[in-house]
Amino acid sequence: MRHAVRALGASMAAAAAGIAVLLAVAWLCGYPPAAVLRVFAQSVAGGADRLSATLLVACPLLLTGLGVCVAFRCGVWNIGAEGQYLVGALAACAVGIHLGTWPAWVAAPLTLLAGVVAGAIWAGLAAWLKLARRVQEVLSTILLNFVAIQLVAIMVHGPLADPLSAQRDTTSSIAAAARLPLLSSRHGLHAGVAIALLAAVGAWFFLRHTVPGLRLRIVGANPIAARLARLPVTGYTAGAFLLSGALAGLAGAVEIAGNSYYLTARYGAGYGYTAIAVAMLARLSPPAIVPAALFFAMLDTGVRGLQHADLEGAASFPTTLTFAAQGGVVLLVAWLAGPPKRTGET
């Protein structure tokens, strides 16, 4: 928990610095900082619908961020959360469309399960490549992202295409029974947000309080010592891949079952990539991933708000500034959370 608190402190500082960077860049580009800040805050949390919009973005970021965190903690550099997220969404959609005759208490969990399994399988491919063929996961996971993007496009244009859509670039909607219940029907806030929070608690409990969680951290921090302590290093490495992929796949399934209900040919919103920044900002501590995901969600909705706002006559606010701020935050975190100083012994 102390680790989480320290991580939280660093991430708050980095987040504040990130906002400052955003404002400074806006100011340099000729936008009045006070107005920018006001519009930003309003778009993030100005009323219940704005707040729930932020939470809806935070939800997939939280789940994918947890996935990245679990993998990194085991020394598995899975940067393929985006691909695992996409196949999760694809599987959830494919299953959810056909569950019209099932009761909701079966259909919705089954839809989520489809996403979990698909994400795990997608990460499992990279695990197999690493453990059997010695292919670096940094390479295989990012390449599998591209495969996943094309797979979604093929399925959306082909087998899953909505027969009523003229362009054939969306799927049919999933059955009503397969959808997640809404916590607030007016704002579209769905039960997936609660699932994501539960997953954060679960990930924290797993890593901190269970035997397999401790072993996963031992394998990640020193595989040589782990081998000498007779821990099955290969098994834990594979397990970290699967768990990480399952969480990213769950994120995709929750997005389908709770938010969009159907797939489009270009479904990815880059959550799987932002997830890496989320996990780093939280310094790989699950409790700190909750505020980290919220922060990046704020950045997203805040800047989207800026694009549409009238900023005292100035031209509309470019999206590129968000990316600049996001990059700035990640660098600041890397700087604030540098590795601990080693003692003099070599």
């Binding site: 309080h209 035997v211 072993r215 031992i218 921090a221 020193n222 040589i224 010592a225 000498l228 012994e345």
Partner: protein, 531 residues
């Protein structure tokens, strides 16, 4: 004639560790000068200082009698000093010629590859080094890569050439051509420093030898007049022991007769050990005999194991360990210590012979050679490290869930018992000093009642108090009925603690049998003497 290079009173500290404590060293033109010492004795540190990679804390560097200051390798190169590092520093995807001239500021921006190749080929021909300048480094064998490193060091006129353990990575067939090159360099007036702990190579190649031990120089000797056993003894600290004995003999007869008794009992112990492996003729006069009836914990018969990542493997090793035994295994690093331990831990495949270990995995204590790499998980807390191997068992976990109060309580207990200086049990292991890290490892491994204790260099890098403490715990473990295997490169430690002494040399284990001149015999075995 003044020496070409003079190092005087060189001091160097890394954190709390004194790597060099006032070392002096002289090097003359036209000699091959060996720098001999165990790992961590300070050989590489001293030569890195001469090459400008490290700064001294105190002491003088003189070249041609003039004091110089070396801030960076470029300064050393300008003075005609070249170095070939133990680990090659080559760009795999580039050709030999490109690698050789890579760091050459004289090579202009527009210089064509053709002229690069010509220059490299010229240098190779001049030095008699057979290597194709067109070849990509990634396609070369280790011996060829070393020639590229040599070319790099020698592409400009060099008066001093330093080689850091150059033969460590070579196959026997590659060593002779290297030696021929070095002899040619010497005959052309170059001074060559040959860092090594291989005595055989030093005696065939070198003219003089300087022995380092624990950051101090024990002197420089002409190789031709110095018996190899004496060098081995010095390197490993046996010399000190012999001299201690001599001085004690001179001080008083009581002391000396006590010593002689020690010697005699040691000889009997060794006899007893010998009979154990042969016909069952046990003597009752010695300590070992008490345990002769006791159960056998390790029984190795003609065991060979694969060479694995850290060769060599074991070759037809016979070893019998009984409860209460404390067996010392001496030997120069890299002669199969890793194989012996990993084989006993069941982590290395046995290719021939018969191995029986009568201890369950959790009954084996392993004080690993490299605490930071093998024994501890540095980013994790002291408490997590304290239960590294037993966190899944009660009282530390129940149904897969860790019970932190029990884990922390156990860690605090170890901290108290073993006087581990830590902020708290929540501190990261990386925050502890080296000595305290080692105490944590020893505490964890010797806690409870292990049946088999495998201790590899358990006191390396520890201060006197901690060393004494760790040795006492090993003796105590043996007294309480564990079979203890002490693998150490420190001969003092082996002689002080062991009931019987074996020597590892190139994967073979030999017993040091005779009591007369036990130290000399061990030193000779370590140097590779047969029979």
């Amino acid at each position: 004639m003044p020496p070409l290079v003079e190092l005087r009173g060189i001091e160097k500290r890394f954190g709390g560790i004194r790597a060099l404590a006032g070392v002096s060293f002289e090097l003359c033109a036209g000699e091959i000068h060996a720098l001999l010492g165990e790992n961590g004795a300070g050989k590489s540190t001293l030569m890195r200082i001469l090459f400008g990679l490290l700064r001294t804390d105190a002491g003088d560097i003189r070249i041609d009698g003039r004091t110089v200051t070396l801030h960076r390798p470029e300064d050393a190169r300008r003075l005609g000093i070249g170095m070939v590092h133990q680990h090659f520093m080559l760009v795999e995807r580039m050709s030999v010629a490109e690698n050789v001239l890579l760091g050459d500021r004289g090579a202009g921006f527009w210089r064509t590859p053709a002229s690069l190749r010509r220059r490299a080929a010229e240098a190779a021909a001049r030095l008699g080094l057979d290597v194709d300048p067109h070849a990509l480094v990634e396609q070369l064998s280790v011996g060829q890569r070393q020639r590229v490193e040599l070319l790099k060091a020698l592409r400009r006129p060099v008066r001093v050439l330093i080689l850091d353990e150059p033969t460590a990575v070579l196959t026997p067939g590659e060593i002779e051509p290297l030696f021929a090159t070095l002899r040619r360099l010497r005959d052309s007036g170059c001074a060559v420093v040959f860092i090594s702990h291989k005595l055989g190579e030093i005696s065939t190649l070198c003219d003089r030898v300087t022995v380092l031990r624990r950051g101090q120089s024990l002197g420089t000797f002409p190789v031709a007049d110095t018996p190899i056993e004496r060098l081995a003894g010095m390197m490993l600290g046996a010399e000190e022991q012999v001299e201690n004995r001599k001085s004690k003999v001179e001080i008083g007869s009581v002391e000396s007769s006590k010593r002689r008794n020690d010697e005699r009992s040691k000889s009997q112990i060794v006899e007893a050990g010998k009979t154990e492996t042969g016909n069952e003729k046990t003597t009752s006069a010695t300590g070992v005999a008490q345990h002769a009836e006791a159960d056998v914990i390790v029984d190795m018969r003609a065991v060979s194991s694969e060479s694995g990542e850290r060769p060599p493997g074991l070759e037809r090793v016979d070893l019998c360990l009984r409860a209460g035994d404390l067996i010392g295994v001496a030997g120069v690093d890299g002669n199969g210590q890793a194989a012996l331990i990993e084989t006993l831990l069941g982590l290395r495949r046995v290719t021939a012979g018969d191995l029986r270990v009568a201890a369950a995995p959790h009954e084996i204590a392993h004080v690993a050679d490299d605490r930071q790499r093998e024994a501890l998980v540095l980013p994790l807390s002291v408490a997590e490290n304290a239960v590294l191997k037993m966190h899944a068992r009660p009282p530390f976990a129940r149904r897969g869930v860790l019970r932190w109060p029990a884990v922390r309580g156990f860690a605090r207990e170890l901290i108290g018992q073993y006087d581990i200086r830590a902020r708290s049990e929540r501190a990261q292991a990386v925050e502890l000093s080296g000595g305290n890290q080692q105490k944590l490892v020893v505490a964890r491994e010797l806690h409870g009642r292990p049946r088999l204790v495998l201790a590899v260099n358990p006191t390396r890098g520890l201060d006197l108090g901690a060393t004494r403490y760790v040795r006492a715990r090993l003796l105590e473990a043996a007294r309480r009925g564990a079979a203890v295997l002490l693998v150490s490169t420190d001969l003092d430690e082996i002689l002080e603690l062991s009931h019987r002494v074996f020597v590892l040399y190139r994967g073979r284990l030999r017993q040091a049998e005779t009591a007369d001149g036990l130290v000399q015999r061990i030193a000779a075995l370590m140097a590779g003497a047969t029979a």
